[in-house]
């Protein structure tokens, strides 16, 4: 059941070991990745943009830096970036028509920190427009297919990032998670997806969707790479006042092969009703595996889970409607041709520039914030958010981390939920809670369905409890890769 699906995929830590021993150069490593993109991305569509010459130039610069004796924690490692994060001089379109042609004039803080450690930025990955969606089908540019089954979606909104890692077209990728947008595509594609706690990584340079929920994280082949990337990106930033000034622990030191002394909770409400048996079986097996690794496992309750989707879609839509007001055709991006007066210019620019899901959410968000509805929807949702946050605080008073499924179903078929927004929203039930509560979470591959479709185990930890989540994920992953330890 728990086969090591990622054994064949490249990892940053293995690449760094080879680079440091002089067994390969960054140029060779980047050429390999570019070759893989050329060979396979035509059938997957993970990347929106790749600049081979620029990537090779960055790689040669990394090799020169190493030759000069100036090491870096990611020196020479290619990183794919979701098209919502600014990388100076590269396009940043959020997979939207309204930002076609936009070139980022600065680096996001997370990008700048990776760059300072020598990372190579080779390309931009596809996503649901403005990160709104769960399948990447809301991209205004192209379809991305699941590398494990091309008739299936890769999940979303970081679908391109998950697909490129799962296909070996990137060593590691940056994504963003507002309601599950890293964890769910990681589960759907069979890779590791880490969403840090709110405030752990600066959001400066991330095009905002829902500012109180958005967080930058990673998609990677294994947990060690997630720890390595977080180590570089985490920590206070004067450009984002919500980024926490809390010490950054040594995440690599948290990775151990057993779970002795850890208490893991199983939230009852995450295993009811709509959970597909093909998902539940591998997740239950993974939980038993964690018990076998020495963890104490106990059921508990998160009683307000059933209100999470409604709460999330009110708050996320409200924040989106405010954040996306900036796309008015004045300062950047597309402007509609007819511009006889400002009102006509705004309305037509946004009509032509936004896709259906973005329009729906902006309209919904405008509605819940409008006069006469603000208290009934937005303020009430914020109060229920408090109840959801308290559920987690109570749970983490008794346990170190929680284990749960990531998504209630296997990856959908392309087109299956494309024009049924409520159906798509309900698929986010196990992931939106972490964003509402501000806690951290990670998806780790935990086997496959009978058809070979990947399933993810979700590990949730308290705010700033990334060490615990990484420890559980690493121990489970390591045991699942050891043939003798399998069930």
């Amino acid at each position: 059941m728990a086969e090591p699906v990622n054994r064949a995929l490249p990892t940053a830590h293995a690449a760094l070991a080879r680079l440091r021993r002089g067994e390969c150069s960054s140029e060779e490593l980047v050429r390999d990745v570019l070759g893989r993109i050329r060979a396979t991305d035509g059938g997957i569509g993970a990347y929106l943009w790749v600049d081979e010459e620029d990537a090779l130039g960055q790689a040669r610069a990394a090799d020169a830096r190493r030759a000069a004796g100036n090491e870096g924690r990611l020196l020479g490692v290619p990183v794919a970036v979701k098209d919502v994060l600014n990388v100076r001089g590269q396009p940043c379109t959020c997979a939207s028509r309204i930002l076609r042609g936009y070139v980022a004039p600065y680096d996001a803080t997370a990008v700048a920190r990776l760059r300072a450690e020598g990372a190579v930025f080779a390309g931009r990955t596809n996503m649901d427009e403005f990160a709104m969606g769960s399948t990447t089908e809301n991209s205004a540019v192209q379809v991305t297919r699941n590398p494990r089954d091309p008739e299936r979606v890769p999940g979303g909104s970081s679908g391109g990032a998950a697909a490129c890692v799962a296909a070996g077209e990137a060593v590691v990728a940056l994504g963003t998670d507002t309601g599950g947008s890293i964890r769910q595509p990681a589960a759907f594609c069979g890779c590791v997806g880490l969403k840090p706690s709110y405030g752990r990584v600066s959001r400066y340079g991330l095009t905002a969707f829902a500012s109180s929920l958005d967080q930058i994280g990673t998609l990677s082949a294994d947990v060690r790479d997630a720890a390595l990337m977080l180590q570089v990106m985490a920590g206070a930033d004067c450009m984002d006042s919500t980024c926490l000034d809390a010490p950054v622990p040594d995440y690599g030191a948290a990775l151990r092969d057993d779970l002795r002394g850890m208490k893991l909770g199983i939230p009852r409400e995450y295993f009811v009703g709509g959970l597909a048996p093909e998902v539940e079986t591998p997740v239950r097996t993974a939980i038993e595996q964690c018990r076998a690794l020495g963890a104490e496992v106990a059921e508990l309750s998160l009683p307000h889970t059933e209100y999470a989707i409604a709460t999330y879609y009110v708050i996320a839509a409200a924040e989106a409607s405010a954040n996306l007001a900036r796309f008015d055709g004045v300062r950047y991006g597309r402007r509609a041709r007819a511009e006889s007066d400002p009102m006509t210019m705004y309305c037509r620019t946004r009509a032509e520039g936004f896709g259906a899901e973005v329009k729906r959410r902006v309209i919904l968000g405008t509605y819940v914030l409008s006069s006469g509805y603000y208290d009934a929807y937005y303020l009430t949702a914020q109060r229920v958010r408090t109840l959801i946050r308290r559920d987690f605080e109570k749970a983490f008073a008794h346990c170190d981390a929680l284990l749960a499924p990531v998504a209630p179903s296997l990856p959908w078929r392309l087109g299956e939920a494309a024009d049924d927004p409520l159906k798509m929203y309900l698929g986010d039930i196990y992931t939106v809670t972490a964003n509402l509560a501000g806690i951290c979470g990670m998806s780790v591959p935990c086997g496959s369905s009978a058809d070979g479709l990947p399933v993810g185990l979700q590990i949730l930890g308290p705010a700033l409890g990334e060490e615990k989540v990484l420890r559980v994920g690493h121990a489970y992953e390591a045991s699942a890769s050891r043939p003798a330890a399998g069930p």
Partner: protein, 103 residues
């Protein structure tokens, strides 16, 4: 008073044509009909948030409360003007050009 305000918060109805105007988005008749149907469904669903007892519960605006975050008041370079203006849809003499606003 608009038709929306008169209905009160208990009405589940969302007037998509009206709200789209507030949001500055032109809709085609087809979009208006489709979004009306879809958002009626979504709004009916999100009313679930009124089920739990929230009396006396403080609202959460941000999951992690931080207050009065200051940085050093030190000057530093801003973005490169040329790079920023290169992204503008219409520029005149280094300024954003917009339709006439004041008669």
């Amino acid at each position: 008073m608009t038709s929306e305000e008169g209905r009160g918060a208990d009405a589940a109805a969302i007037d998509v044509a009206y709200v789209a105007r507030l949001a500055r988005i032109d809709l085609t008749p087809e979009e208006q009909a489709r979004f009306q149907r879809q958002l009626d469904e979504v709004v009916a669903y999100v009313r679930k948030i009124r089920e739990p007892d929230t009396s006396g519960i403080e609202p959460t605006a941000h999951a992690v409360a931080v207050r009065n975050v200051f940085r050093d008041d030190a000057p530093r370079p801003g973005l490169d003007r040329g790079e920023v203006m290169a992204n503008a849809p219409a520029v005149v003499q280094g300024l954003f050009r917009v339709p006439q606003i004041v008669e």
